[in-house]
Amino acid sequence: MVSPILLIAVPLGLAFAIPVLGLASKRVPRYVPVIAMLFNLVVSVSLLPHALKAPIVVRTAGWAPPYSIHLVAGPLGVLLSSLIALIGLLVAVYGIDYIREGAKVKYQILYILMLVGATGVVLTGDIFNLFVFFEVLCISSYALVAYRGDSTGVEAGAKYLIQGAIGSGLVLIGIGLVYGTFGTLTMADIAANVSSVGSFRLFVSLAFLITGFGVEAAIFPLNGWLPDAHSSAPSSISAILSGIAIKAGLYAIARVVYTVYGASSILPFLAVLGIVTLLIGEMCAFGQEDIKRLLAFSSIGQMGLILFALALASATGISGAVFLIVSHGLAKALLFLASGYMIYRTGSRDISSLNGIGKRMPIMSLCFTVGAFSLIGLPPFVGFASKFTIVRAVLGTGSTFFITLLAIGLIGTVIEGAYFLRIVQGFYFKPAPEDSPEQTEGKVPFSALVPVGLLAVLILTIGLFPGIVGRVLGPAADDLLDRTAYVQHVMGD
């Protein structure tokens, strides 16, 4: 068995090596992210069977927890790191030809490091180390949002930087309080001792942590940065930000609330926040005329639904949430990647300029349609399976509170259906705008068709055979819910 720490060390080493490689050859650096993510995908998938048996606890520096930092590669962590590596790999292939201007070598470095940060967040077992990897993820995203260096990009990056930095500051205060109270930073050690401390101090530190991580997770009302950041970044980066980065924030919240604090009393509040986020995201998306802003607002809506499902506190609910993380990651990455070349082709981000594109870019439009249908939750795509799991979980709780919230939340899905169907209708049934200039640079290269096509195939395949992912979802939910087992695995006895 390979040590899970290589999932972080190897891509990090490749990223460190890029400046030297870039001096040797101008062409080599663009292939490095592909190699790094391919390595991560192979290792993550090969670790999955081991992680399903028992979480793999990796020590650093040779000391047992809590004296040193350790990684916990449980079912949830390895599932998410596989998802990160998969989407990261496909987007890296897409990025080979998509990134045409700017400091290309530096783009590849930041791209790898962003994914290293996300992988570290889902694998670590130490709350301060979680913060460090969270910073790695966030700071590289700030830079990549502003990558183009134009005024909208820099403005969006600066907004993101300010809000993200405040969020990180709150997280740090929360961790400081936790360390002051418990004298330890190991999550399992805190979880074992959490019942011995008064609830007021716990509540304050938990509030700091949830608010801080909530900025990155784009929970209402902390999501003001998201529409600008996700729409002004290069499309490949938008795909990662929407597909992976915001989920890392949500994972951190879930890990802290469930495993570390075991705070079930805060869950109804989170469920309400989730539904509010869902409705606001979808309603804002409905009014958008800019395709990337629309996709960004739709991400906010989906994050709300995931948060709601996480707050159900039942094994089915969390399975549904993790399933939705997977399906939304695939679908939203597909949509951003496909729209990237459509924007190159039409030279505009207006939805109306995309009318009639179904004839000019048949494959991209077909894949976009698959992604959109999956997000709405139409069978036989994977979005249906994940949303259905959530509905089943809510009905399974039998609580009027959650069923009412779900009923309100379903309005969001209807709105979602309305705006996505409007776009797809425009693709196929509306004539192209007359004055549309044909941009020659919009010719879709092979390196873009492959990842987009593969994502569409994955969405369809997992939709038809949900068991591929389904086997891992149950253990992943237990990984989050079963605190005693988690503590036992990490601390030994």
Partner: protein
């Protein structure tokens, strides 16, 4: 009225923060007050202080914590600094192409000569700080920052001279890779990332502490070249 309300809200927040921080006593008392926590099991501040010297043989216990016990965090922090430097360069790149270079006025002879005289001494001080990081206060980050301040002086005093960007790239790449390589050798030899696998020697000697001085030297080079690169980028902007 609005000012009054915001003042009131601020007071409530301040009271809340005061209440929870006044209860939290960091370190030893915090652990014992939490009741269930037995001292050695959880209070690792005290444990590091009592056993760290014997376990790592590094005279500066902070170095032992930063590079060994919590070395994985340090790797992350070095990465954060690297990201900041690379990200800044990436964003400035787009503007660099548009900017027209303007001629800078040369510094006076006194400043010019003073900078050239001080520069090697500053480098020496920085190197001293990170080479002795495991013995005396300071370490890779501090030493690297001192080294970078030497380059800042050159930019201020000797206009038009400075780091070559290829040199910066090689230095930051190789030093980062050296850190990782030492950590990975620990994984290969003893099965644990960042393991202190070298003979530790006797405490307070220059050659002691196992891998700690090696990693600190790598961090010193990395921090120095990254901060130097940031200065280079920003002064290119001003030039």
């Amino acid at each position: 009225m609005r000012r009054l309300i915001s003042l009131l809200l601020l007071l409530i927040v301040a009271l809340g923060i005061f209440l929870c921080f006044s209860g939290a006593s960091f370190g030893a008392e915090g652990a014992s007050r939490a009741g269930k926590l037995t001292e050695d099991k959880v209070n690792f501040g005290r444990r590091y202080a009592s056993r760290g010297l014997e376990e790592n043989k590094a005279g500066n216990i902070v170095a032992s914590v930063v590079v060994n016990y919590r070395g994985f965090d340090t790797l992350g922090e070095v990465t954060v600094l690297f990201i900041a430097a690379v990200g800044l360069a990436a964003i400035l790149h787009a503007r660099r192409e548009e900017a027209t270079p303007s001629k800078a006025e040369p510094a006076s002879l006194i400043v010019f000569t003073g900078c050239r005289f001080l520069f090697p001494l500053i480098l020496l001080l920085g190197a001293y700080i990170f080479i002795h990081g495991h013995l005396t206060p300071g370490g890779g980050f501090q030493g690297g920052a001192v080294v970078a301040s030497g380059f800042l002086l050159i930019y201020l005093g000797c206009r038009g001279r400075g780091l070559r960007s290829a040199g910066v790239a090689v230095a930051e790449s190789l030093s980062g890779l050296a850190f990782l390589a030492v950590a990975l050798v620990g994984l290969a030899v003893g099965g644990s990332f960042l393991l202190n696998f070298l003979p530790k020697g006797s405490a307070f000697a220059l050659f002691s502490g196992g891998v700690i001085p090696l990693i600190y030297v790598a961090i010193g080079f990395k921090v120095g070249s990254e901060l130097g690169g940031i200065i280079d980028n920003l002064s290119g902007e001003a030039r």
